[in-house]
Symmetry: C2
Subunit: 181 residues, 2 copies
DNA sequence: ACTTTATATATCGAAGTGATAGTATGCATC
DNA sequence: GATGCATACTATCACTTCGATATATAAAGT
């Protein structure tokens, strides 16, 4: 389940350009699988090279060709195989928690800013999920519903944890408490 | 807050070898910041090159020298600077959730195995945190307590979510329900 | 006697990150 | 009428990290 496979999976849903896929990585997939152009374009090239997708090049004047990718039968088969992997990973890479390990080397002001930014980021991601859910209404697959629900649960858990345990790191002043509520 | 910085941070707590740091990455840091030898050894070399750590080489017969690293004053200063970054990331990279997006392309048996493995992995990580907490008893910093607590909260949230929402993906048979309880 | 675990080093190809660059259209703001 | 910003699209590149593998010895379990 690398970027290549995820792109292939997205293409089971209909043809798309690299740009389209990037948008999906930025919206519905943002909270659990980020990918930039530096991964997506090479991935699509490799998939095309291996015959798992086909590419229609639509010429445009002045601009580089628009490249629309479509999954092939071989691609669908490959996807089926990829989905047989029994133990897909779930990894967290948190500079935030790493930094908190060294909280005793930081000032309260620094900690306060970092905690606030973390909560803000969580809220941004919650909004992304919410926007996705409202935009596709009832036509999401059960899988996507499961995934969105999982994202919301984890993000809420993080937010609540930070709120309820910040006292382990900072002594809340009355003004801060007031600002938080 | 890359591997280099985290290694430097670990060394604020006392001198260590690359192997020692790896153990820390595998135990207390495992649930939010993994790193292998392929990152740690180059990181230590770079830190030594930049004068942020010093290396004592202890010769050993037959084996390569044992290299014990100690942080320098410049290193401590560098760490202070690194901790001023106001918005450390917190990223999830989940093959698991990516796979669940394509659940409609999978069989129930496959899904069942994947869900079971996910729960097992969560439990393994919970045990790691628990083991760490009992091993260091009260001499953990508030920061480490915060981090362990956060890990436990997130992992419990994931486990509970999977348990309570598996019905979105699989129709639980009586036998499965019995096995789960 | 045999195997696993622990201590310790190190490298390398493959994969992914993040930033940057380029080009055109259209829309809003000044 | 110009300037800047958003959107649509492509693409590359240096750097970092990942995961697997290799090498060596000693202790400890079975």
């Amino acid at each position: 389940m690398d970027v290549k496979t995820v792109c292939l999976g997205m293409l089971t849903d209909g043809e798309a350009t690299g740009y389209d896929l990037k948008k999906q990585f930025e919206s519905s997939f943002a909270h659990f699988f980020a990918a930039g152009y530096g991964s997506i374009y090479p991935a699509l090239s490799a998939l095309a090279r291996d015959g798992l997708v086909e590419c229609r090049e639509i010429p445009q004047d002045g601009k580089p060709d628009r490249k629309v990718y479509r999954i092939t039968d071989a691609g669908r088969e490959h996807m089926q195989e990829a989905l047989k992997k029994p133990d897909p990973t779930h990894k967290v890479r948190s500079e935030f928690l790493a930094m908190m390990c060294f909280a005793h080397l930081m000032s309260e002001e620094q900690l306060d800013i970092v905690l606030a930014n973390r909560v803000a980021d969580v809220e941004r991601k919650l909004k992304l999920i919410h926007d996705y859910e409202t935009s596709c209404m009832q036509d999401a697959t059960p899988g996507m519903r499961f995934v969105c629900g999982c994202g919301k649960t984890m993000l809420h858990a993080m937010k609540e944890y930070v709120d309820q345990n910040r006292h382990l790191l900072v002594t809340d002043t009355p003004s801060r408490k007031a600002a938080a509520s």
